[in-house]
């Protein structure tokens, strides 16, 4: 992965408390898995940055290497990699996601 892509990813993660690397945008997701995670964040009414990996092939491949995770979407909360669609969905359903937001002092709709 070239340094430019790595810096871009690091900056997005550092600058946004909740950062979702996704296909498409939160308003217009281009993949059902990305949409599912974006929708969860919308339901929780948390502010998040959606980074559209389809805008750059380097970014699309780079984020997989960066997180050592083979698929997109990928959710970061306060610089910590939380997981992809399966994990986020499961955490939302069993309450762990809210616990995580509490731990990280991020407000959401209770």
């Amino acid at each position: 992965m070239d340094q430019q892509v790595k810096d871009l990813i690091t900056n997005e993660i550092n600058d946004n408390e909740i950062c979702l690397f996704m296909k498409g945008t939160p308003e217009a997701p281009q993949c059902g898995f990305s949409m599912a995670v974006a929708n969860i964040l919308k339901v929780l009414e948390v502010k998040f940055k959606g980074v559209n990996v389809l805008e750059s092939q380097n970014l699309r491949e780079g984020i997989k290497e960066y997180s050592e995770w083979p698929t997109i979407p990928q959710l970061y909360v306060k610089k910590e990699f939380v997981g992809g669609c399966d994990i986020v969905k499961e955490m939302f359903e069993n309450g762990e996601l809210k616990n995580l937001l509490d731990q990280k002092s991020i407000s959401y709709k209770k």
Binding site: K64, W69, P70, T71, G83, I87, E90, M91
Partner: protein, 81 residues
């Protein structure tokens, strides 16, 4: 870009020898699967680590030949985590 269900199962079981593996072809197109893997090897690992272990067992096919694999992992003889 499709992968046989049996091949997925074989690769996972190669790494997780004690595992119970349930795979379902969700759309019947050989492209969208769900898998539940229950193994003692997950003990003490975070969810992310558990999923990474399964992805690793698929030897780079995840995200390539294998487009979609909805994954659930559980510890064997343990509580869900």
């Amino acid at each position: 870009m499709a992968m046989d269900l049996k091949e997925i199962e074989r690769l996972i079981k190669e790494t997780f020898r004690d595992a119970t593996v349930e795979i379902e072809d969700l759309a019947g197109d050989g492209n969208h699967y769900s898998a539940t893997v229950i193994s003692s090897q997950f003990q003490g690992k975070s969810k992310i680590e558990q999923h990474k272990m399964v992805y690793k067992s698929l030897k780079g096919k995840m995200g390539n030949e294998l487009h979609a694999l909805a994954l659930k992992t559980r510890e064997k003889n343990g509580s869900t985590s």
